[in-house]
Symmetry: C2
Subunit: 107 residues, 2 copies
C-alpha cells in the first residue's frame, strides 16, 4: 500500500549512512584507523571496552562495505593489518562534525 511514499523515504542518504556506520563501534574504529594502519591487537588497546568478537565482526563489516582494507601477511603467528580505503577516508568530515556537535552540545 502506498508504495510510492514509502519507497522514497526508506532509501534516503541518511539511512544509507546509518546502515554503513550505525551501531556502537564502527565510527570509533574508523576514527582510530583514520591516519594509521593498525593491527587487531592495537585496536583492542585503543578501544579497551570493545570485545574481541565485536571488533573482528565490525572490521569484517567495514571491509565488506569497502571502507576498510584487511591486509593479511599470511604469517604465523597471524599478522593482519587494517587501514582505510579511499572511501573510508570520507568519514573524516563526518567524524569531525560529530566531535563538533558534542562540543556544542556540552557548551
Amino acid at each position: 500500500m502506498k508504495d510510492d511514499k514509502i519507497y522514497i523515504t526508506v532509501r534516503c542518504p541518511i539511512r544509507t549512512t546509518l546502515e554503513l556506520l550505525g551501531g556502537k563501534w564502527k565510527l570509533l574504529i574508523l576514527h582510530q584507523l583514520y591516519d594509521k594502519t593498525l593491527r587487531l591487537s592495537e585496536l583492542k588497546n585503543l578501544i579497551p571496552d570493545i570485545s574481541e568478537k565485536m571488533l573482528i565482526q565490525e572490521l569484517k563489516n567495514l571491509a565488506d562495505s569497502g571502507l576498510v582494507i584487511r591486509n593479511n601477511f599470511g604469517e604465523v603467528p597471524p599478522r593482519v593489518e587494517y587501514s582505510l580505503t579511499e572511501k573510508g577516508r570520507n568519514v573524516k568530515p563526518l567524524i569531525e562534525q560529530m566531535i563538533a556537535f558534542a562540543k556544542h552540545y556540552e557548551a
Copy 2:
C-alpha cells in the same frame, strides 16, 4: 583533560554524539524537523515506516536531551507541535555530512 587512556576512550565526543543521536530514527526525525515545526501526525506521514510508539518515544528522548521542544497547546483534540532548539539546530552540518558521505559512497 587527563591522559588516562581508558577515560578518554569511553567518554569521547564521538560516544557522546552516538548516545544523543544513535539509533534508527533520531536523525531522520531531526532532519524533518530541521526547518519546520511539525505535529506528530505530520512527522508520521513524513516518515511512514516509523511506528507511533517509536516516534513518540524518540521525540521524548530528543526533548529530554534538549534538542527538541515540545509545544503542547492543551487543546482537545490534542495539539502538540515539535521544533528544534538552538542546540538541536547544530545537527544540520552533521546531517549534511551524512548525506555527503552517502553520495561519495555510492559514487
